[in-house]
């Protein structure tokens, strides 16, 4: 990995450069909160944002998009190939970098999702280190996702006078050379970056989970009264999955458009917490009870998808779901209780 230094006053120039070549998404203030928005003016970017309402997932997997179209006059079907430039996301915190990496793994696992692949080929990601915890509900320390883990082209760590820049990819290297915005770091800057990096490790040293066993522990409490207890607090509203960087479930619907001359196949976000998620045409609901649905989400985040993709945990600990949950349900509490139950051997009761 190559290392560079980006002077603080040039960060807007970097964003400007990206906005001319990509569909640029970046953190911006909106009505007292932060969102990843498509940026028109680099001056609108908030580099010291806490965390956004939604993760940057929608830059890669839009809330709604057209996957394929059928011309009803000719009957020919075609995939939609966006003419838009690929997306770039600027200033992504490590939890969301890990989230984007997991989204990518899920969508590119063979058979890869061709629509996702087409829309995101050549995407560019600029990470931004967190020096402190953004909110009390966040638990990226316990999931060990406070480090960027490599899923970026450039990664910026704030320090005196600017940003230490880790260059990960060929595209990142080409950009660094092409823009002329970056400097060769001095020994003093390197020493300071090391100091900052160690500080991050100290700040995020708290651990409430044993990641070595979590994915194996959760299925052991599959039959357990805790799920019924959780269901009493769950409104089955699906807010948790909407704000989740790693919840990737979606719906596919066919719709008419263009005065019934074109039929579009559309994708939109869906949620396994919603009551009808697993209903088949005959009416049978294979996850009809709320306790089954909240358990399914926790199992996906803590075990099923983690094991599928060789990760210790799929959840990235961003803390968005406990923040928006009306019942204050936190995966951290659930995972922690699970490990307590498994450790104490109480988890056998149905």
């Amino acid at each position: 990995m190559k290392e560079k230094f980006l002077p603080g006053e040039r960060v807007e120039d970097l964003a400007e450069y990206l906005s001319q070549r990509y569909r640029l998404w970046a953190p911006a203030a909106k009505e007292g909160a932060f969102v990843f928005a498509q940026v028109v003016d680099a001056g609108d970017i908030s580099m010291d944002y806490s965390t956004t309402l939604l993760p940057p997932k929608h830059a890669f997997l839009p809330t709604a998009e057209i996957l394929a179209s059928v011309d009803l006059q000719t009957g020919e079907a075609d995939s939609v190939r966006p003419d838009d430039p690929p997306p770039a996301i600027f200033g992504v915190h490590p939890c969301d970098l890990n989230g984007l990496a997991r989204l990518d793994q899920a969508m590119r696992e063979p058979p890869a999702d061709a629509a996702y692949h087409r829309a995101n080929a050549g995407a560019f990601i600029v990470g931004l280190a967190c020096l402190k915890k953004c909110r009390p509900e966040a638990f990226c320390d316990s999931t060990e996702t406070f480090r960027p883990n490599g899923h970026f082209d450039l990664h910026l760590t704030p320090m005196e006078g600017g940003f230490w820049t880790s260059v990960q990819s060929d595209a990142g290297r080409a950009l660094a050379d092409d823009t002329g915005l970056f400097e060769v770091p001095t020994d003093r800057q390197r020493a300071e970056y090391e100091h900052v990096r160690r500080g991050i490790e100290t700040t995020f040293a708290g651990r409430r989970l044993n990641l070595k066993t979590l994915a194996a522990d959760l299925p052991k409490i599959y039959p357990h009264r805790m799920w019924e207890k959780l269901a009493e607090r769950c409104f089955s509203c699906g807010a948790c999955t909407a704000v989740c960087p790693t919840c990737v479930c979606f719906d596919v619907r066919d719709e008419m458009s263009d005065g019934c001359r074109t039929a579009n196949r559309c994708r939109s976000w869906d949620s396994c917490l919603l009551k009808d998620f697993a209903v088949v045409a005959g009416g049978e609901n294979f996850r009809g009870r709320r306790a089954e649905r909240i358990r399914h989400r926790m199992m996906r985040q803590g075990s099923y998808l983690a094991r599928r993709f060789g990760l210790p945990v799929f959840c990235v600990g961003c803390g968005r779901c406990p923040h928006v949950c009306l019942g204050k349900i936190s995966p951290l509490d659930v995972f922690e209780q699970c490990q307590k139950e498994v450790g104490s051997g109480v988890g056998r009761a149905a």
Binding site: P111, A115, V248, C249, V252, A278, V279, G282, F286, H296
Partner: protein, 278 residues
């Protein structure tokens, strides 16, 4: 506009032509479909996503064997928006097809063995592909039995084909209905009642069952009473499906995707999937 078949993992349907459409019962129709550029290339037990532009897409099991013709059959029950609209498609009409998806019935495991097929209601639609395959390669299998259950004689699917399956396919067929009027000479009662009556060699029989979840609960009990090992029993599971490529999450049962790992599952594998047959 490309003539090439969709890439793997694409959402673009191929346009198939319905060359023949015939009603089977008051609620089921059989469609014979032909793709313009290829044979479907499916195995018994696999399914396709069938769609009408602007209306929607539904997962439907293939009802014919690849050994029969260049096209393939879909038996579609009128039960939702998409199937309702599909029932209005006439011969010569066009529908969208993606697939085939999933892994099919355990053909290799069945070879050289007795095969017991158990079909409840619409479950005969997917199993017909296996029945046809067995008829076409009859010498690869030993004793073959097909148990069929339906609500009434009128709702029995493919009843006009049973004689051919019996005579040419040398398949022992037992059909039962829940309720019957005068004129029905077959069994009356649940399909589970047929299981104790048939000759079964537990360690040389492979069971393939397809039916509603409630049927599996009772059928499994009867099969276990006949001492058939769990790793010789296969069940085909129905789930909601959207993508067919293990992404959308709708068909997930615990940590497996029915669209990739199913829809046919070996029963001993389902022990680790408590959501499968609850």
């Amino acid at each position: 506009m490309s003539d090439a078949p969709p890439d793997q993992g694409d959402y673009r349907p191929e346009i198939a032509t319905a060359t023949e459409v015939r009603p089977l019962t008051a609620t089921e129709r059989l469609f014979h479909l032909i793709l313009p550029h290829r044979a479907l290339g499916h195995l018994p037990g696999q399914f396709v996503q069938v769609s009408l532009p602007g209306i929607g897409e539904a997962p439907i099991s293939v009802s014919s064997s690849f050994t029969r013709t260049s096209g393939f059959d879909l038996c579609i029950r009128r039960t939702g928006n998409v199937s309702e609209a599909l029932h209005r498609v006439k011969a010569g009409g066009r529908v969208g097809i993606r697939g085939p998806f999933g892994c099919g019935a355990p053909l290799e495991k069945c070879m050289g063995q007795d095969v017991l097929m158990i079909a409840g209601g619409l479950g005969l639609a997917p199993l017909r592909s296996l029945v046809q395959y067995i008829c076409d390669y009859r010498d690869r299998f030993k004793k073959v039995t097909l148990l069929i259950g339906a609500r009434t004689p009128e709702t029995l699917l493919f009843a006009d084909e049973y004689n051919a399956w019996r005579n040419e396919g040398k398949i022992n067929i037992e059909a039962t209905v829940d309720t019957a009027k005068k004129g029905w000479t077959g069994s009356v009662g649940l399909i589970t009642n047929l299981i104790p009556q048939i000759e079964i060699w537990p360690t040389s029989t492979v069971v393939v069952a397809c039916g509603p979840p409630i049927m599996y609960r009772f059928v499994m009990r009867k099969l276990q009473q006949r001492h058939i090992p769990d790793d010789r029993i296969y069940l085909s599971l129905e789930r909601r499906m959207k993508c067919g490529m293990g992404k959308c999450g709708h068909c997930q049962i615990n940590d497996v995707y029915v669209c990739l790992d199913g829809p046919v599952f070996r029963y001993d594998r389902l022990a680790a999937l408590p959501e499968a047959v609850s």
